[in-house]
């Protein structure tokens, strides 16, 4: 990987707008500007159209001979299937309100990263085929024909968008670039263009149940190891039920939590919490993936990967599903799952917390509850004994992940939990949090090493906001509820705000959670010394 420029250089060397109009400029495919293409075998295994080897930097992308017809037909098909697409092609007035809302634009100053122009890349093609004037006047009114360069351009910019929907919040008509990007990606897949970093996890998930391709026995092994660690830290070994029938709850989290630092601490947090609650639940090696890289490919692929959840809940006879901390997983669950794979199996019922009796009416149909909702409800009803001082070494801030924020509205539940498990909490500036949050800059399958500089650029708004609270309040921990964040934010923090570490919410909950039968806790889940250890035990001197 090429050496990264310093943050100052990175900001200073953003190029000015080109002199030519945007219809005249073409992207340059130089290493670092694009992600590696999907392998032919992977695409074949998934029965994707036109699997082939190709190189984005090459002139010839080896498209099928009739690629233009394939793309035109696919576009027409998508227009017929999605009212949103027709509408978003028609009603944009190019007011420019979305322009500086996009982190890719802010970080690169590439005009085609303004959401309006990103959509205009497709709109220009729409104009030629679906408007009278476009046919006659062509380029004069921003209409153009499909050509090889256009396909390349669509590819370039469809993978410089994380589908975070920040622009859609500011658009006076709610034009959602995520929808446009998702459809452009679908179109490109029709001629065999996809990313390795997306398609490999999709293939894994199709065949092993999770993105990382962890086979059932390895999955069990890893979880047992994490349970051993929990025992060392807490003094109680949490239960690890797998694929068991007859439990009330099926728990599904992103597989990144089982596998990757710092997600594993969040997973340990789940285990410790569930054990303390004596939760009637099971894990599944089959439905061992909450995340859904299929949603970065096509609607149908998302449906395919998502189908395992209800299938497994039905087989195991679970009443409802508890979902772990993951961003795009929750976009799919909250807005797509029920439509894709519902109605739910007959054994499932509206989720009820076994401890508080709270009926999660907001999940009455999908029957899936977010762990932050579940935890917030427990804390509200005093069902957890918490000692937030165990997190006193942490000065926290909260990163709203784009999908739970703008595709779900999960904003205050995690904050409620966080404020009860840590003593030091500071918000980042108001234009960078809650529904206006900036994403990590590498979601939607862009969390790959080869585009690290681009990721640091798109991560600039988040990085700057983090840096701000780090400098101002001494923040040293950014918590979030997204597995992609837990993978992408550590390098982002190292670059923009060195010294800040990243964690999930439940890791912090489990640090603070006083468990029945625990030994004297000396280390946190990361096996780092707890704060206040060298202080004398108060022994009631303090007078509570």
């Amino acid at each position: 990987m090429a050496k990264l420029p310093t943050p100052q250089e990175l900001v200073a060397n953003r190029p000015a707008f080109p002199a030519e109009a945007w219809l005249e400029t073409k992207p340059k495919f130089v290493p670092g500007s694009y992600c590696y293409p999907a392998k032919k075998e992977t695409m074949e295994a998934l029965h994707m159209p036109h699997p082939h080897e190709w190189d984005p930097a090459a002139d010839d992308w080896q498209l099928p001979e009739n690629w233009e017809k394939i793309l035109c037909d696919a576009f027409e098909d998508r227009l017929k299937k999605h009212r949103s697409l027709k509408l978003f092609m028609d009603i944009c007035v190019r007011c420019g309100a979305c322009a500086d809302k996009c982190q890719f634009f802010l970080g690169t100053n590439d005009p085609k990263n303004m959401p309006v122009l990103r959509a205009e890349l497709l709109r220009s093609l729409y104009r030629r085929d679906y408007s009278m004037l476009g046919k006659i006047l062509g380029k004069k009114i921003g209409a153009r024909s499909w050509d090889y360069q256009t396909v390349k351009e669509l590819f370039f910019y469809a993978y410089q968008c994380t589908e975070c929907r920040r622009c859609s919040l500011f658009c006076p008509y709610g034009i959602d670039t995520a929808e446009i990007t998702a459809i452009v990606r679908e179109l490109l897949h029709e001629v065999g263009l996809g990313l390795h970093w997306i398609m490999d996890p999709v293939k894994n998930c199709s065949y092993t149940g999770n993105h990382l391709g962890i086979k059932p026995h390895s999955y069990v092994e890893i979880v047992e190891m994490l349970a051993d660690d929990c025992e060392d830290i807490v003094g109680v070994r949490p239960k690890t039920p797998f694929n068991e029938r007859g439990h009330e709850i099926l728990f599904i989290c992103p597989s990144g939590d089982v596998f990757a630092d710092p997600g594993i601490y969040t997973f340990m947090g789940y285990l410790i919490l569930f054990n303390e609650l004596d939760l009637d639940y099971t894990l599944s090696t089959y439905a061992s993936e909450g995340g859904n890289f299929g949603s970065f490919v096509s609607f149908n692929m998302a449906k395919k990967l998502n189908a395992k959840m209800y299938e497994e809940a039905q087989r195991l006879g679970c009443k409802w599903i508890l979902g772990g901390e993951c961003g795009h997983m929750w976009r799919v669950i909250n807005q797509y799952m029920d439509t894709y794979n519902g109605p739910t199996p007959s054994n499932m019922t509206t989720p009820v917390s076994p401890y508080t009796g709270t009926v999660f009416k907001n999940a009455a149909s999908t029957k899936m509850v977010h762990i932050a909702e579940f935890e917030a409800d427990l804390i509200r009803h005093n069902k957890l004994k918490l000692d937030p001082s165990r997190n006193d070494d942490l000065i926290c801030t909260w990163h709203d992940s784009c999908n739970p924020a703008r595709g779900m509205g999960l904003l205050d539940e995690p904050r409620y939990v966080l404020k009860h498990v840590v003593n030091h909490f500071y918000e980042m500036p108001e234009n960078t949090i809650r529904e206006q949050t900036f994403c990590c800059g590498a979601g939607s399958g862009l969390n790959t090493e080869e585009i690290m500089e681009l990721r640091m650029r798109s991560g600039m708004p988040r990085g700057n906001a983090l840096r701000y609270v780090q400098q101002k309040y001494g923040v040293n921990r950014m918590a979030c509820c997204c597995a992609i964040d837990r993978a992408t934010l550590p390098p982002l923090a190292d670059y923009w705000a060195p010294g800040v570490t990243i964690s999930g919410l439940t890791e912090l909950v489990a640090n603070a959670l006083v468990c029945k039968g625990e030994h004297k806790r000396t280390v946190n889940l990361r096996q780092e010394d707890l704060p206040h250890l060298d202080e004398e035990e108060p022994e009631g001197n303090e007078g509570e």
């Binding site: 007011c95 420019g96 029920d338």
Partner: protein
């Protein structure tokens, strides 16, 4: 940009010349009828074209806290979960441009003292919102005031609106505030497209065209009323003729009137085939017009394809031995399988 200006100027000149050589009935009678038919038919056609495609997924943009637990306060306006809530959200969106109101301007400061390096700073930026509101409301009021020409006797609400609009009591005929403000707002919208480098870069011919068209309409209207002082009684008689499908002779009416009518007709004809359909489109926008209750109520996709995925039995077939090795419960035990095989 210049193209748009030229086209608008050309339309105006043609109308002027046409009226001057006695083609008033073409520009004053035929064209308005055609324009209204095209406008109404076109907008309906556009809406039908949108409506023909289904809304496969419920994708509202959640603009705030969702409805969840009792003690978590829902953002009722920006993340509504009921139909009434959606109506409220749409009301804010349509009448007050809620989303545009959020607008901020992001600027990078290279050496920020707090960050000790670059920092993005967000400045409140409500100008676009202010002028967009001003533009649309003034346009609406001006349009509404014109009913004094279409209806006889003039309805009370129109007269009332005229009274309010002319409250400054300047000049004769009295100066209507909205006319002036509309001119200012249009000039702002044009100016911002020319001055703001980002907006300039994204602007197309069809962004300037309606602005210049409306500018032409406003200017010709103002000229007619305040400067050329066109005979209003004569104009009203002529318009009433149109309204009653009994057109009268256009003789004697100042050509500026036909310029005005021709530009309005052009706008009406252009409307359904352009971005101006955002007026109807906003109501169709699935990120705004759907309730944020997607876990509570199932949204049905009419083209939902059949399920196609690796089922659990297939999965177990793939990994049965490994699963048995890891003591995972099996639906079809390993022994049964081996027995079956040896039995065959």
């Amino acid at each position: 940009m210049l193209n748009s200006l030229l086209v608008v100027a050309l339309v105006a000149i043609i109308a002027w010349l046409g009226a001057a050589i006695g083609l008033g009935s073409l520009f004053g009678v035929v064209l308005p009828y055609v324009a209204i038919v095209v406008f109404l038919g076109g907008v309906v056609w556009r809406m039908v074209w949108w409506a023909k495609s289904p809304v496969p997924f419920a994708i509202p943009t959640t603009g705030g806290q969702e409805k969840s637990l009792d003690f978590i306060k829902q953002a009722q306006w920006d993340c509504p979960d009921t139909t009434l809530g959606v109506v409220k959200r749409m009301f804010l969106e349509v009448f007050l441009f809620r989303s545009l109101f959020r607008n901020v301007n992001a600027e990078i400061k290279q050496d920020d003292p707090v960050n000790g390096g670059p920092r993005l700073i967000y400045y409140s930026s409500k100008w676009l919102w202010v002028f967009a509101l001003l533009f649309h409301y003034c346009f609406f009021i001006v349009f509404f005031r014109h009913f004094r020409f279409f209806v006889d006797p003039v309805p009370g609400c129109v007269s009332f609106m005229e009274m309010i609009d002319g409250f400054l009591q300047i000049g004769a005929p009295r100066f209507y505030l909205t006319g002036g403000l509309l001119l200012v707002a249009v000039l702002f919208l044009i100016g911002r497209r020319l001055v703001n480098p980002r907006v300039r870069y994204i602007s197309l011919t069809q962004d300037y065209f309606p602005l210049f068209l409306i500018l032409g309409i406003v200017v010709s209207g103002i000229a007619m009323r305040y400067f050329l002082k066109t005979d209003i009684t004569q104009v009203k008689a002529f318009v009433m003729g149109l309204v009653h499908f009994n057109p009268i002779s256009a003789d004697g009416i100042d050509p500026i009137f036909f310029v005005h009518v021709c530009l309005v007709s052009t706008l009406l004809i252009y409307f359904p085939f352009s971005k101006l359909t955002h007026m109807a489109g906003i109501f169709f926008s699935p990120t705004r017009n759907l309730p944020c209750n997607t876990r509570r109520v199932r949204h049905v996709n009419p083209w939902n394809p059949p399920k196609d995925f690796l089922t659990y039995p297939e999965y177990e077939d793939l990994y049965r031995e490994a699963m048995a090795g890891a003591n995972l419960p099996l639906d079809k035990p390993l022994e049964a399988e081996t027995k079956q095989k040896s039995g065959e």
